[in-house]
Amino acid sequence: MSGSIVGKANAERAIGGGVLVFAVFAPLLVGAFWLDAILTQTLIFGIAAASLIFLSAHGGMISLAQTALMGIAGYMVGNMVTSGGAGGESKGLTLGWDPTLAIVLAILITTVLGLLFGALASRSIGIYFLMLTLTYGVIANLFFGSVTEFGGFSPIAGVNRYTPGFIGDMVNDRNRLYYIALIVAVAVYVLIRFVLRTPFGVALQGVRDEPLRMSSLGYNVPLHRTLAFGLGAFVASLAGILFVWWQGQIAPGDLGLSATIQLLVIAVIGGLMRVEGAWLGAFAVILIDNQLANRIPSSGLPIIGGSFNTVIGLVFLAIVVVSPDGLLGLWDRLWGLTRGRGGSDEPAVAAGRAGP
């Protein structure tokens, strides 16, 4: 029994190591389009999804606000770095500040907002938390759509022309962007794994499982949830900054309902129980998106009609119905089957572990 678990952990380490080695040499192995459109995007959305999965798996909070936090960070950078006037941008505050300062401020502001949002939501759990964070997301979307000072309905463009010197050119040197995203992704993964081993991380998981017991033991339950949400916001802000460099522009639609749902789809397809699933889910969704995008005629899908959203909705539905723990849950069960252990434990989402 324990041998099997060790074997599985070793197998996962081997796979993870292999993926990392591939990732490091990817620019030599795949074409420029693949690298930029699929792998870089996978890394960025994987970081955002990792923040969602961290909160869900270890904090028991499924947050639908991560896309919004990502977008807020992107908007902060967009408003601070671009400059107006001749040859500049006409949207947003066009402050023209130093990009390094802008990045630090964007991370700081997003994290503080995350702490505020988290504090407000810290006493809501399970399904209430999901609804509340969705509300945050929609409000953030409408905010950037209706408050014209921050850019208004159309995008702030040309954001990636302004990057700090130590980051370098993000417009033309896409390999550089890829490596930066890779470094940030690995750092985020290590950070989350590290946090989970600290006393805070252990207490957070206690709060997830037994909030009442933890609070009677003297732990401040809302504070732990708030701090976890703040950490999630910090990670999402990193993804947001990378995203705005990758896309070059930011618009309210980037934090809209369908973007929010897409991040949730990534997290669910990867598996809401383990952080590794974030990048797996991101890769799967972005690959499907990319492969389908050109093949769906502009008149809509054959027979039923509709766009890519119908396809991703059906895939999402199938995943939630068949394997609520996503691809990693499927992997856990397959491993169990090949080792002669019947079906693994009940899927954690199904058992309502993330909510009481």
């Binding site: 499924i62 407000l120 939501a121 006493r123 809501s124 759990i125 399970g126 399904i127 209430y128 999901l130 609804m131 509340l132 969705l134 509300t135 945050y136 929609v138 409000i139 979307n141 409408l142 905010f143 209706s146 408050v147 014209t148 000072e149 208004g152 909030p211 009442l212 609070s215 401040n220 339950v221 809302p222 809209g256 309902l257 369908s258 749902i261 949730l264 669910v268 809509g300 899908l301 039923i304 009609g305 509709g306 766009s307 959203n309 119908t310 991703i312 909705g313 059906l314 999402f316 539905l317 939630v320 119905v321 609520p324 989402v349 199904a350 058992a351 309502g352 993330a354 909510g355 009481p356």
Partner: protein, 380 residues
Amino acid sequence: MRLRLPDLQQLRAQPGRFLTYGAVAAAILFALLYVAVIAQPAPDIGGNWRTTNFGSAIHDPASFLRILLDSITFAGLLFIVASGFSLIFGLMRVVNMAHGSFYLLGGYLAYEIQQEMSGQGFTLAGDDVNTWEWVLPLLVAAGGVALFGLLVQQTLLRWNQGQDLRQALITIAVSVIVADQVIAHFPRHVPEGTVKFGGNAVGVTWPGWTNRLVDLQVWDVRYSLARLTMLALGVGIGVVLWLWLYRTRTGMVIRAGVDDRQMTSALGINIQKTFAIAFAVGSALAAFGAVVGASQANISSGQDGVWLLNALVVVIIGGMGSLLGAAAGSLLYALVFSFSASYLPVNGEGCCTQYSIVSTFVLLALVLAFRPQGLFGRAG
């Protein structure tokens, strides 16, 4: 089993609490004073923190009354949509994230039927529509969406009861598919010369007799009968729901199910049948609200997100699963929404900015800071 919110009230330090209560009370008092006396009508150029489009209530009572009526009538519409959402959650613990998509579907269905019935093409003058040509589309849309909701509930939500997060994810998937399909196939009738790109903004037309202004006999205010009809429909739905829930046997079973699902079921009551009825009624209310909303404004792609937000905000403020909570939440949200749209300071050149979404967030934050379960929600 009901969701339990940890009761941490006792753990909190009392002095801090006293301070926050004071701050909130002061903020509310300031907002009331601002609307009542402080605000000044905006000059042509420039302005300061006191200038609004209408000035204070004392300065311009007619506008104040109109905005108040706008809020209350909008609350009627909010209540229709949110009560369906709340009913489903209260009984079944299903957060129907597809409620906004059902709204979209209902609105377009009613529009197509009204177009077919009147056969006049896109531009329907109000006077050309008789009551029947409005009521029948309403009934068909509500019935159609109720059937569709029933189908979703029976196929996707019946076998996984109690797994509330999984059910929420399933309804999110349904909402994505339904919204995309509705936009792909509707509207079928578009005005001549317009490109049909899917999800065009179209409107249902109120019956002709509502197309006039009622003289309210105070401050020369004449107010739209259609909007008053909207309020009457909201109140009517509220009364009917109340009678249904508190004066009929089915309602009794539903309330028993809300309190203790397993016990109700153990008493030999077919709780599955009750669930099916509640889900169908809840979905029908989304469509009902959509027909009213599409008559007052329009229906277009993107409204699914807006109305999901509206329903969520109302029930988060009012408390999940409570009829009274839905009414109170609708009224509070509508008041804050309309008044902040009209009374937030304007500064001359800021023509297009709407900060009122910020006050929605502030309202939500204030309610949650003091009552995480909502105004009329039950903790524990």
